[in-house]
Point group: C2
Chain length 296, copies 2
C-alpha cells in the first residue's frame, strides 16, 4: 500500500518537473535573470504534495488530467512564490531550501522579491488560461478560491501571524488558526480544486475540505516534530530553527509525545472524512498516513 | 474641457477611495498590522488614472458601473502592490510616496513585502468574485489579461529590466520595451478591461489597446520629464532620483526638448486612435492631453 503511494507521489513529482518547465519563462532578454530565478526555485524539487492532492481529488470525479495537471502546476508555482518570500532576510532569513541555496542567496534579494511576485501572477495566469478548463465559470471559481487562500485571510495572513506573534502569548487555538491560514489554506485549495473541476456535490466538496483541513494540520504538526527531531542533512533545510529562535510550535506547546499522538489522530480523522468515496480514494488515504509517517 | 476632465478624474479618485476601503481587510486579529499596511498604501491617494481608464472605457459600451468600478478597484490595488515592492530597500529604496512615508518606512520591510503580496492576491480575488460580472468567461478573461500584464512578461519583467539594465547600454528601443512592460502593460489592461466588460468588437478593442499603448508611453516620458524638472514638494516623492542615480530615462536618451515633443506626439497619436468613437470618448481624449500637461 505504502509503495503504491510512494510511487504515485514520485510520478506526480516527475510529471510536475516536466510540466512546470513548460510554464516557466525562459527567453533571451534583458530580464533573463528573473526567468532563471523563477525556474531555479520552481524546478528545485519538493514533494509536490499539493499537486498530488489536486490531481488525486480531480481523479475521483474522472476529470481529464489535461485540466488537473495545469491547476496542480499553478498551485506548485504559487507555493514556490511563498517559499521564496518566506526565506527572505526580512522574513525567516533562510540560506537553504530543498538542499540548495535559497533564491536570495543564489541570486540576490531584489530578484527574490521579483521572482516571487512574478510566480504569483503566473499561477493565476495558468488557471485563467482557457486551456485549463473550457468553462469560464470553473476557471473563475478556481481563481477566486486560490486568491482567497493566498491572501490576507489565508497564506499571507498566516505568515504575518507567524512572524509577529509573541511566542509567550501563543496558545493552541492561535497556532491552529495560524497554521490553517499559513499552510492549511493552500492544501484545502488543492482538494477543493479537484472538487470544482469535477463538479462535485456539496457533500463531496465538504468531505474533501474536511479531509484537507485535517491533513494540513497533521502535515504542519509533523513539520514541527521533524524540525525538533530532524537532522539538517535529511531535511534539506535548517532544522531546530524554530526551537532555537524561541518560536512557538505545536511541539513547544504540546510536547513531542502529545504532538505525535495529535498528528496521528488528525491523520485518522482525515481518512474518516473519505468514507463516502470508494477505493479510488485509497491514494488520498495513503497520503494522510504518509503525512505523519514521513521523515522529511 | 480640461475642467470637465479634472472633475471626472477627481470624482473617480473620490469614488475609489470609498470603494477601495470596502475591499480592504480590517479585522481585529493578530495579523492586523498587515491590514493596516494594506489600507495605508492603498488609501493614500494617487491620481487613480488606471481606475479612470477602466471606468471610461467601460462607459463607452454602457457597462454597468457596478462591474467597472470593481475592476477599477482591483487594478488600483494591484498597482499599489507594485509601488510598495518597488519602493523596498532592495529595489528603488524610496522613503516617500504620495507625500508620505513608504510602507517599509512607516511599518517595516517584512510588512511591506507581505502587504504587497496580499494586495496582489486581493486584486485577483476581487475580479474573480461573481459580483464583478455575471459571466465566468468575462471574469476569467479579465483575470488572464491582468495576470499576463502583471508578471514576468509585463510589469515585473519591466521592473527587473529597470533595475538590472546597464544605463550605458540602454537604447531607445530597450527603454521603450522596458516602460511598455513596467507601466504600459497595466495601462493597456485598464483600457482592455473596459473592452472585455463591454464585449467590444475586435476593431474597438484594437483601437483602445493602441490608445492605451501611446498614452502609457506618453505618461512615462512625462514622468521622466517631471523627474528631471520637478520639485520634490510638488511631486510628493523624491525627484531627480533617476538622474542622480545615473539611470537611463527618456530624458537622458533624447534630451528634455525632444522628450517633450515625443510625449506630445504620442498624446495626439493616442487621441487619433479614438476616431471611431463619438463624443462619449471625450474624457479619454482629455486624459491623453492631461497625461502630458500635468505637473505632478
Amino acid at each position: 500500500m505504502e509503495d503504491k503511494f510512494a510511487k504515485a507521489l514520485r510520478q506526480t513529482a516527475d510529471l510536475m518537473n516536466r510540466e512546470l518547465s513548460t510554464f516557466l519563462p525562459d527567453h533571451e532578454s534583458p530580464e533573463h535573470q528573473l526567468h532563471e530565478a523563477m525556474r531555479y526555485a520552481t524546478l528545485s524539487g519538493g514533494k509536490r504534495l499539493r499537486a498530488f492532492l489536486v490531481i488525486q481529488c480531480a481523479d475521483l470525479f474522472d476529470v481529464s488530467r489535461d485540466y488537473s495537471v495545469r491547476v496542480a502546476a499553478a498551485l506548485e508555482i504559487l507555493h514556490t512564490y511563498s517559499l521564496i518570500h518566506d526565506d527572505l532576510p526580512c522574513m525567516d532569513d533562510d540560506d537553504l531550501r530543498r538542499g540548495i541555496p535559497t533564491v536570495h542567496k543564489k541570486f540576490d534579494e531584489t530578484i527574490a522579491v521579483l521572482a516571487g511576485d512574478a510566480l504569483q501572477s503566473l499561477a493565476f495566469e495558468i488557471i485563467a488560461n482557457p486551456e485549463t478548463h473550457p468553462s469560464g465559470s470553473v476557471r473563475a471559481a478556481l481563481l477566486h478560491k486560490l486568491a482567497l487562500a493566498s491572501g490576507a485571510h489565508g497564506m499571507v495572513g498566516g505568515q504575518t501571524m507567524d512572524i509577529y506573534s509573541d511566542p509567550e502569548e501563543i496558545s493552541m487555538p492561535t497556532i491552529t488558526r495560524l497554521q490553517q491560514m499559513k499552510t492549511g489554506a493552500l492544501i484545502t485549495f488543492a482538494c477543493e480544486a479537484g472538487a470544482i473541476l469535477g463538479h462535485a456535490s456539496p457533500a463531496q466538496t465538504t468531505a474533501l475540505r474536511a479531509y484537507a483541513h485535517d491533513l494540513g494540520l497533521a502535515f504542519q504538526i509533523t513539520d514541527d516534530i521533524l524540525d525538533a527531531e530532524g537532522e539538517a542533512t535529511e531535511m534539506g533545510k535548517a532544522t531546530r530553527k524554530d526551537a532555537d529562535a524561541g518560536k512557538a510550535t505545536f511541539v513547544s506547546l504540546m510536547g513531542l509525545e502529545k504532538a505525535k499522538i495529535h498528528a496521528e489522530m488528525l491523520s485518522r480523522q482525515a481518512i474518516s472524512h473519505l468514507s463516502a468515496f470508494k477505493e479510488n480514494a485509497d491514494l488520498l488515504r495513503d497520503a494522510a498516513i504518509f503525512t505523519v509517517e514521513r521523515n522529511k
